[in-house]
């Protein structure tokens, strides 16, 4: 095969959208993906914009990074709007997300949060019980109010992934299954994989939890960590839940897909079996996560859970890592920050534009890799 101008490592949502964007610019693109533990094939399809309480609680030191990124999340959901318009349908619904409060303290927390988010341009509002009653009659009686973020939404990631892969193929992107083990920079980039070796003028590393290892020899200490997470799905019910549901204090996301199935997740842990094996489901997560969902939305308690799964999320420092590698400028790193499926399309496109020296519409300086220089 002719040498690609651009080789992308990692075929999740970030790599896929980078490939599409680069191919649209006219580049010859190869996408090499190990196809193990992609967050993209395991995720819940929530389009997150407001600050996730789970994240603020788990990683308080990273919360300022996420808050600084709020405008990026707004851009990211608009990127999804554009993708849906050109390549959809992905069963996308943007009716907003509700973050629930069960007591006055939680509601006060949401009020402060909403003010800070409004300052960053988010469309947020605090709803009292009466207002909730009108849009979400299936909520538990203990819910006293909620923050509604109208920018949020949901989609079916399976539908989106399939369509975007087809788009990449139709644009001539060559999709290769392999795991890259090393990069060597010279007059071009030489990559060694488990089954083949490759050369390219430029490389985008969109390998999520695998990114840190790939760049560690290139003077970058990128602390990309694999985080195994748990998900549940029920049998279908009549359409009734339009919003993405979260909680002010507890870890949960709940939404209804177009199929009528309810997807319950929100960051409950799974058991890692190493980065190259699928994580194992934990009883405590299944029980805790589903029981919480039933308590918040009693209307679903008659439904049966038909499947659980576990997938690999990636965390760094809460903020997207996007930029050229100092000293190895042929290499670009593109790892989205928290809620990476929401950010993936935008981060992927920006990485492709960086590779093509196309002036972007977002200032990426805040996401520079300089903060990880070894």
């Amino acid at each position: 095969m002719p040498k690609p101008e651009l080789l992308i490592v990692g075929g999740g949502i970030t790599g896929l959208c980078a490939a599409i964007s680069a191919a649209q610019q006219g580049a010859r693109v190869t996408l090499v993906d190990a196809a193990v533990n992609a967050g993209t094939t395991a995720n819940a399809g929530s389009l997150h914009v407001q600050l996730q309480s789970r994240f603020m609680r788990l990683y308080p030191e990273q919360a300022p990074n996420v808050e600084a990124s709020l405008p990026l999340y707004l851009r990211a959901v608009r990127e999804w709007d554009a993708l849906e318009a050109t390549h959809g349908p992905f069963e996308m619904v943007r009716k907003g997300g509700l973050m629930l409060a069960e007591d006055a303290e939680q509601l006060a927390f949401l009020e402060t949060k909403a003010r800070r988010e409004a300052d960053k341009g988010l469309d947020v509002e605090i709803l009292d019980r009466a207002a909730l009653e009108r849009i979400a009659p299936w909520l538990g009686p203990q819910i006293i109010g909620a923050e509604l973020c109208r920018d949020e939404g949901k989609l079916n990631p399976l539908a989106a992934n399939i369509r975007l892969q087809a788009v990449a193929r139709s644009l001539g992107v060559s999709l290769v299954r392999d795991r890259i083990t090393s990069l060597l920079i010279g007059s071009d980039v030489q990559l060694r994989g488990e089954t083949d070796s490759y050369r390219a003028d430029q490389v985008i590393i969109a390998a999520a939890w695998g990114a840190g290892d790939l760049v560690s020899g290139l003077g970058l200490a990128l602390p990309s960590r694999a985080e195994p997470l748990h998900m549940n799905i029920t049998e279908p019910a009549a359409a009734g839940i339009e919003h993405l549901i979260q909680h002010a204090e507890r870890s949960i996301t709940l939404k209804q897909l177009q199929s009528g199935q309810i997807v319950i997740g929100g960051g409950w842990p799974a058991q890692s079996r190493g980065n190259h094996a699928v994580p194992e489901v934990l009883a405590t997560s299944m029980l805790g996560n589903v029981a919480l969902a039933g308590r918040l939305v009693p209307g679903i308690t008659g439904l049966r859970v038909i499947r659980t799964w576990a997938g690999m999320n990636t965390t760094i420092d809460g903020k997207t890592a996007l930029g050229r590698l100092a000293g190895a400028e042929r290499v670009i790193v593109a790892v989205p920050g928290d809620a990476g499926y929401t950010l993936g399309p935008l981060v992927g496109r920006l990485a492709a534009e960086l590779a093509g020296d196309v002036p972007g519409d977002v200032d990426i300086a805040p996401f520079s890799l300089a903060r990880f220089a070894a």
Binding site: R169, I300, T308
Partner: protein, 563 residues
């Protein structure tokens, strides 16, 4: 005879049932075959008769998604066809509903046996008589497993097979084993730690010292266009209707696929009064293979004679047995009756039927074993996984034994012998010596395995080649995915069954991939040229069977209260 007939309501119409009958049986007696419609509007009814396919779902007293084959017809019950998407309850429905969860029971028996069939009951009897505390859990309300399935409620025993089963149940009880029926096991985790729910809704948390898995097998269907129509059911479903509930699947019946079960059930149904129009066996006639038939006779004269007695009985009952004959397609008439097309030597023949029974081999119910990480290997002769076991039938997982058909088809006598061996081993591991004559059990096991090998040489236990099936054949009943869609889904990226699942939705429905999974695994293996292993199948995940959110909440609350 059966006392206290009950009256229940189906779609508002009063129907009567015999005491102890399942809803599925009572509805079948009433001529009702359509229990629900799928999301795409296709009618569905009883298919597996054993709680696996989830196609018999109805709503009972407002509670949706109840399996009619596993639910008793209760007096006064309001039964409704299941709608594809039940309404969510709103505040008005759940306000004021007492949400008092039943206290969870934590059980720590020496030996926990899952599955109360030939294998499980023998294991329980041996382990309990050695002095171990033994608990047997079974999902069905009717005890005995497949071979020994008992009549419901107070119906009399049908034959020696049922009275042997009754004796075995009595022996297990007398030895001190506790037998619980109607228990839904939804979780199996390392430990072993298991979660279940008792019929009254009590959450069960089980931490046994030793675990014996004896969950049996379910049936492989003949996947042809029309195999999901109401009135088409597995041979075992028809057998359960008759043996446990004295209901016939229909008046005009045919039985197809391959194997001795089809012959036995055809005869049972004929004797029960059904007009059995034919038995279609895909293997050639044993008369064409005298050497194999003789080998079978030598391996087990008694059972082989019983088998030829069955053939004789069928002839006397006027039931033709067509060899080299396969099912080609099924269509529905406007009145709901069926038109089945069979193919024999390239010629097609159509038969009008009320019910069509199919059994084209067996698939082991190995989900608990796979969840616990027990080592499996593929058996190409039977086309399914077998669990790797030691001589004492322990698996690769510490403290976990596996016996009977859940390890790969072996038949009831082998399951019984394996149960006795594993029961003794599990009791010994808890410090209880047995007086069990293990030498006899091992001899019996070796004999039963020899017989099975010869028996299946006369049938056709390997899965069918799907290459010639038309694209519009459904392979996933639940998500209504056709073979054509699956083939397309493999075209881009056939690397793994999980990838094709995400593209086609195959295996994402309520039966959790039990019917499409084995087929999908084979199709992907063919396409990639890789041989089949445990990893070729859908990854094992909880819940083992669909479990209601309410049950999970009750379990969590009970655990919280204890903590």
């Amino acid at each position: 005879m059966m006392s206290d007939p009950v009256t229940f309501f189906f779609e508002g119409e009063a129907l009567s049932a015999r005491n102890g009958q399942s809803l599925a049986a009572a509805l079948t007696d009433a001529g009702q075959r359509v229990f629900r419609h799928t999301g795409k509007g296709s009618p569905r009814g009883v298919f597996c008769g054993m709680g696996v396919c989830q196609d018999c779902l109805v709503s009972v007293d407002g509670q949706p998604n109840q399996r009619a084959c596993m639910t008793l017809a209760r007096d006064g019950a309001l039964v409704q066809r299941q709608v594809a998407r039940p309404e969510l309850e709103s505040k008005a429905d759940f306000d004021g509903k007492p949400a008092q969860p039943l206290a969870a029971r934590e059980l720590t028996p020496d030996v926990l046996v899952i599955g109360g069939g030939a294998g499980g009951l023998n294991a329980a009897a041996v382990a309990a008589s050695a002095g171990a505390s033994v608990l047997v859990l079974d999902e069905r309300k009717v005890a005995g497993g497949q071979y020994f399935k008992q009549p419901a409620a107070d119906a009399p025993l049908l034959d020696a097979q049922q009275s042997d089963g009754a004796d075995l149940l009595a022996a297990a009880r007398e030895a001190g084993a506790e037998l619980l029926g109607g228990v839904e096991i939804w979780g199996a985790f390392a430990g072993p730690l298991l979660y279940a729910v008792a019929p009254d809704g009590t959450p069960l948390v089980l931490r046994p010292k030793q675990l014996i898995v004896a969950t049996g097998a379910y049936e492989r269907p003949c996947m042809v266009p029309g195999w999901t129509l109401p009135g088409v059911m597995t041979t075992g479903a028809a057998q359960t209707l008759w043996r446990s509930y004295r209901s016939l699947p229909g008046r005009r019946v045919a039985v197809c696929g391959s194997g001795p079960l089809n012959l036995q059930v055809a005869l049972e149904l004929a004797r029960g009064g059904a007009e059995v129009r034919l038995v279609a066996e895909s293997a050639p006639s044993p008369l064409k293979r005298p050497a194999s038939a003789m080998a079978l006779l030598l391996a087990g004269p008694k059972l082989a004679l019983a088998g030829s007695g069955m053939l004789l009985g069928l002839r006397r009952a006027g039931v033709p047995v067509h060899y080299d004959t396969g099912l080609a397609a099924i269509a529905a008439n406007t009145d709901g009756s069926l038109r089945a097309t069979f193919r024999r030597n390239g010629r097609e023949e159509t038969t009008e039927l009320d019910a069509l029974c199919m059994n084209d081999g067996f698939e082991p119910q190995n989900e608990i074993l796979r969840l616990l990480g027990a080592d499996m290997h593929y058996d190409p002769a039977f086309g399914h996984l077998r669990c790797t076991r030691t001589d004492s039938l322990s698996t690769s997982v510490d403290g976990v034994y596996a016996v009977g058909d859940c390890c790969g088809l072996g038949g009831a006598p082998a399951a019984a012998a394996e149960g006795r061996i594993a029961g003794a081993a599990a009791a010994a591991a808890c410090g209880f010596a047995t007086h069990e004559d293990l030498w006899s059990s091992r001899q019996a096991l070796a004999g039963a395995r020899r017989f099975q090998k010869r028996l299946w040489a006369l049938h056709d236990p390997a899965p069918r080649n799907l290459d010639t099936l038309p694209d519009d054949t459904l392979i996933c009943r639940c998500e209504e995915v056709t073979l054509g869609q699956f083939r397309n889904g493999m075209a881009d990226d056939a690397d793994h069954i999980g990838t094709v699942k995400r593209v086609t939705r195959v295996g994402m429905g309520c039966c959790q991939g039990r019917y499409c999974g084995p087929v999908a695994a084979r199709l992907v293996a063919n396409a990639t040229g890789r041989s089949l292993t445990d990893h070729s199948y859908f990854a094992p995940r909880v819940p083992i069977k669909p479990v209601s959110i309410g049950t999970l909440m009750a379990t969590q609350e009970a655990l919280d209260a204890k903590a």
